[in-house]
């Protein structure tokens, strides 16, 4: 019904927007086509010349709707960027909540000194539904080449003015001007936040009109959370409405937000719904004597029973028991089942709303459910706190999904609700021990390792994907059979709450070379770090490891009788400022053997760009040290 009505109203939209947009940016001029590069962005292959958005509110009989007219003009400088002329606009069409209309576009080219304009034809604009929620509008601007300027405009209508869609001033390519203006109902009281790494550049042109200029393009960097957190953006939020002379607050504070969610059909009410677990299964779980044991076994029951459908959600739209019966569900369905069973066992369990790493961090000023996209479970047993997320059968109870490690979450409960820090000190530990010697049969080494927490999880996943044999092959291609005829021995592959252990033996290989009465030894046997993960000299966003970690390597090498040490590297220690991390390499000779230990520890997860230099340096030191070799010489 709503969408029908909007279509009717669109007829008058020309009138509605008038000349507003054209006033705020320079109209197209031929000189624009003569520019071949932009001094602020000499490397750019394409530049957004202007991006202008105007949000207007319209009252329809169902209430206020927002209509945003967007007009974007892009200059293509390099041929590799011409596919930017193929535009896709995605929208949430379910329930008529969003639509896109009035698409227009044109391309300007300079041909022998003349401007040639190619209009986008209406019949070349296609739209299709992608699934039950999203649809896509797709069109290709005509005749886009290196040097072209094209522009397109459209109107996005959303049936909600409570939290209008954010306006992004910034993109993956440079933006010269981005201008956003809003016309909102006079009796509506809005507040806003500005986010992003360049947010200090925001300029307030007039009331309800913001502008940013000369913004660099922002792209992904390794070890960081989602781009969403770094793109400059403005987010409006309705906080109150004046009606008949009296002001009514509509944006809640966190306590009332909590109360409301606890009463919601899709949240709090779900906590009370019964999950019909088989009585024999339940009696096994509930008869455990320790509370922690109960928690762990209930967690194991849910994670093994349920398959996650891959979608994050903090609300649950069907009966938890329906999901339980189907053995499949969203993250909210699975974790609400977990919550129900934990409470059924009289444990103190509560949901924690979070936003995953690829999403925007919750804005503490806006008590909004939409700040979150996922829910995990907090359990408190005798003063100990646990965070559980049962969406992956490979993950033990003491490990959250890596995506969950996004700093903060809202603990939703009647008594003492509030922000909690998501722990970042989950186990991520790796240890390798090597015992090697050379005798009359030649070189021989036994290697064994254990991987705990996230490291164990990663290996288990790799083995799931490629199989044990190929995983072993990736560690070394020179493994030999041990006395039991085994080449690669694995322990605890299925016991996911225990460290994964492995061992194998090596004989002659490229790490130990005998030549001219000398033996050269590369003591890391392939476990050295090969490349610095932080290649860039500069860093634009903070490094966010998500969790702390530690890697240890140690080796004992028995020196052959007729040899002696000629040279060993020096021991070394590199400690990050404030002792948030360290690399250590200790080597020495004693009683006819060489002992070495190499370890790296990172105790902090967030590194702001200023700390980046040291982090990069630490990795450099480690690479250099781990590649140093030992030299033995034949006794004379």
């Amino acid at each position: 019904m709503l969408s029908f009505l909007i279509v009717g109203l669109l007829l008058s939209s020309e009138l509605l927007y008038g000349q507003g947009i054209e006033d705020r940016i320079a109209p197209f001029q031929k000189e624009m086509l003569e520019v071949t590069s932009y001094p602020e962005f000499p490397d750019a292959g394409a530049v957004i010349l202007s991006d202008v958005g105007t949000l207007k509110s319209l009252f329809v009989f169902t209430g206020w709707v927002g209509m945003t007219k967007v007009k974007r003009r892009i200059h293509i400088l390099s041929e590799s960027e011409i596919s930017r002329g193929d535009v896709e606009l995605f929208y949430y069409y379910k329930g008529g909540s969003e639509s896109i209309n009035q698409v227009k576009g044109r391309t300007y080219n300079l041909v022998e000194g003349d401007t040639i304009v190619s209009e986008l034809n209406e019949e070349d604009i296609y739209s299709e539904t992608l699934d039950e929620e999203y649809a896509r509008m797709k069109f290709s601007l005509p005749n886009v080449k290196a040097g072209s300027i094209f522009e397109y405009e459209f109107i996005r209508t959303e049936a909600n003015l409570f939290s209008p869609s954010p306006w992004f001033f910034q993109s993956d390519i440079p933006t010269l001007v981005s201008d956003y203006q809003v016309f909102l109902p006079a009796n509506y009281d809005y507040t806003y936040v500005v986010l992003g790494s360049d947010s200090e550049k925001l300029e307030s042109v007039s009331d309800g009109n913001w502008r940013m200029e000369n913004l660099p393009g922002i792209t992904e960097e390794p070890y960081s959370s989602g781009l969403m957190n770094y793109l400059s953006q403005i987010r409006l939020q309705l906080q109150g409405v004046t009606q008949n002379g009296s002001y009514k607050k509509v944006l809640e504070d966190w306590p009332s937000f909590t109360k409301k969610l606890l009463a919601s059909d899709f949240m709090g009410k779900k906590f009370k719904q019964k999950v019909k677990i088989k009585s024999d299964e339940w009696s096994v779980l509930s008869n455990l004597s320790e509370d922690k044991e109960k928690m762990v076994e209930i967690y194991n029951h849910v994670k093994d029973k349920m398959t996650w459908d891959g979608s994050h959600s903090y609300l649950c739209f069907r009966k938890t028991n329906d999901a339980y019966k189907e053995q499949k569900g969203t993250s909210a369905e699975i974790n609400f089942i977990l919550l129900n069973l934990l409470r059924k066992a009289n444990l103190q369990a509560d949901p924690v709303l979070i936003s995953t790493r690829d999403m925007l961090m919750p804005i503490k000023d806006f008590p909004l459910a939409t700040a979150f996209n996922h829910v995990i479970i907090h359990v408190s047993i005798g003063g100990e706190e646990y965070f559980l997320d049962a969406t992956d059968p490979q993950r033990p109870y003491n490990l959250l999904a890596f995506e969950d490690l996004h700093q903060i979450g809202w603990l939703l409960r009647k008594e003492n609700p509030g922000w909690v820090n998501i722990p970042n000190d989950y186990p991520a530990m790796q240890g390798i021990n090597v015992l090697a010697n050379i005798d009359e049969d030649g070189f021989e080494a036994g290697l064994q390792g254990y991987s705990e927490g996230y490291y164990g999880l990663n290996i288990r996943r790799a083995i799931d994907e490629i199989g044990v044999d190929e995983y072993a092959n990736s560690l070394s291609t020179s493994m030999v059979e041990d006395e039991n005829g085994e080449t690669f021995h694995l322990e605890n592959l299925e016991e996911i709450d225990k460290p994964l252990k492995w061992k194998y033996q090596l004989e002659e290989n490229e790490y130990v070379i005998e030549s001219n009465d000398r033996i050269y030894i590369n003591p890391m046997f392939g476990f050295e770090l090969e490349e610095n993960p932080f290649m860039s000299k500069e860093r634009y966003h903070p490094v966010d490891f998500g969790h702390t970690f530690q890697q240890n390597y140690s080796i004992t090498f028995l020196i052959p009788e007729d040899y002696e040490v000629e040279s060993l590297p020096e021991s070394q220690r590199y400690i990050l400022p404030n002792r948030v991390g360290a690399f250590e390499y200790v080597v020495g000779e004693e009683d006819g053997r060489i002992q070495m230990r190499s370890s790296v520890k990172i105790r902090e997860t967030l590194f702001i760009p200023e700390g980046y230099f040291y982090l990069r340096e630490l990795y450099d030191k480690m690479i250099t040290k781990q590649s140093e070799q030992w030299v033995l010489r034949k006794k004379s």
Binding site: E79, T477, M535, S627, E628
Partner: protein
Amino acid sequence: MRKYLQYTLASCFFLMCLAGVRSLQAADPKIDYDVENIPDALLENANAVMRMEKGSVEILNEEKGEFTRSWAVTILNKNGSSHNTLVAYYDASFNKVSQITGNLYDANGKLVRKLKPKEIQDFSASGGDVGDNRAKVAELTYNEYPYTVEFSYTRSYKGSVFLPNWQFQRATKMAVQKSTFSVTSETSFGWNYKMYNGAPEPTIKEDGEVRIVSWDMEKLAATEYESYSPEVDVPFILTSPEKIVWDGYVGNSSTWQEFGQFSYELNKGRQNLPDELKEKVHQMTSNASTVREKIDTLYKYMQENTRYVSIQLGIGGWQTFDPEYVYRNGYGDCKALSNYLHSMLKEVGVPSHTVLVQAGSDENDIKPEFVGDQFNHVILVVPNEGDSVWVECTSSENPAGYLGRFTQDRHVLITKDGESKLVKTPTAYPEDNLQKRSADINLKSDGTAEAKVYTRYTGYQQDRIRQSVRGLNDRDMEKWLKKRIHIPSYDLNSYDWEEITGNVLPTYDLNYEVFARKWASASGNRLFLAPNTLNPKTDVPEKMDDRTQPIALDYPYLDTDTLTYHLPEGYSIESMPEMPVKIETVFGEYEANIVMKNPTTLVYSRKLKMEKIELPAKSYNDFREFKKAVSKADRLQIVLNGKS
């Protein structure tokens, strides 16, 4: 019952007969899905077992038909769980998918639940294209292994360029207990079929005006994917209607000439150039004296003024947009762009033909002896006795005459009025796909180095590089290069790249200078140098004692590396592996050498040539040994001592 059926068959019209046949088929006894009933031999190596699969095609008339697929698969463990999903692809303009059913059974074959209609989802399957491809998807999840899912759906179709084909085994690590395929039609309906890879002979039943052709296979053990193997050879059947009917167009596929003629007719009359373009075309080629010059000029014009945009709606999946459309918009798909160049060439008197091809870097060749639709792409050829020029019209970069891995070395159908024929596109040799590198390295006693690296790429190797770097801005180029240069830690000081035009093969030069914070490893007086820093091939395929699949090497190339090291003063070689290394095999050749040109100049040279070749499974161990030897030789190290 039987008598009654015969009576109906004889007396009523065709559609009713089909209904009768269907009810007969539905009368199959219900299968017991208890996992106990799976023969032990089928459990070996399997993550899932297809308990029964049945495909039946019912030809309603020469333009319409229905394909019903029903199957039940037992999922033995979590690695087989992807088989719990029904995916029914369809073309929204010509197909309809209906009658989707699903049932879930536990290990004992007891029904756990039925699929609910609201669990069936409908997705776009066109990817980034504008198109009609969609899919109905339904999943039955269960986490107590083993369990069995049973699905069926019917897809009706309108228009017959092709009929459904059948594959008796659909995945690796999946055994098949029973698979059957049948085609039911009027006896007068003409169609062809052919069996491959051990698919059985059909049983043919004729009953009055109805003919049923059917195939049965039982007990196929699970297969396993083995690296470096061609696509696993499972038994399959190709089918094709003799008469083609498509959206008002009629043709036939009794010979390749006829099939090509259909495509030709479909696109006939769509070659008119706008006047403005006609004029341009003549102007541009007025100075061209040879056919080749005309091709190069017009191809270049097209490359500079159009881009590839895929739009496949309705018959547009088969029929080209006309040149006016491409000229106006500056874009088109493979058909439209091929037809565009074809029309421009025609305007200047150069005959050319559009060519149907099964494109893809890892696609198997089509079956040349079986006439039917086996294609997914269109290119253009300008015939010239023995030296035809092949043109990939969707490329904005290739020189005319270069096809690349996407369409090289395979059977293709040239469509030409009255003379369509199947031919092979040219193949590539290692020497066509070069990576030729030289480098100058100033090595310091602390292991750091300044290096200048020059590399020329041609053919396939050039494709890979250029697709990634062409037009990247500095920051992205730096990012890309940093991923490719495997020096442990370094700063990229400068780089440049250049497309070298005028060669038959596409050629690209990429040069850069780095400061490596660790090129060699320094310990005390010594420098440990692995001279092949830039191009070590260290992958060794896994050990396999019972290899069953052949080895297919399909990426021929030749790498040469010459690295000149300027050593710090006073250093000499303390230890060096035995040189030169030379390995010659049927798979390829390898050579490496180290020469001291003078006391401070060390030259490392290396050559690796890989052939395009297919060899039987028993050669696998030799192949692994070759890769192992290369890997070892590529990691050799030299010890330099500075203690004079």
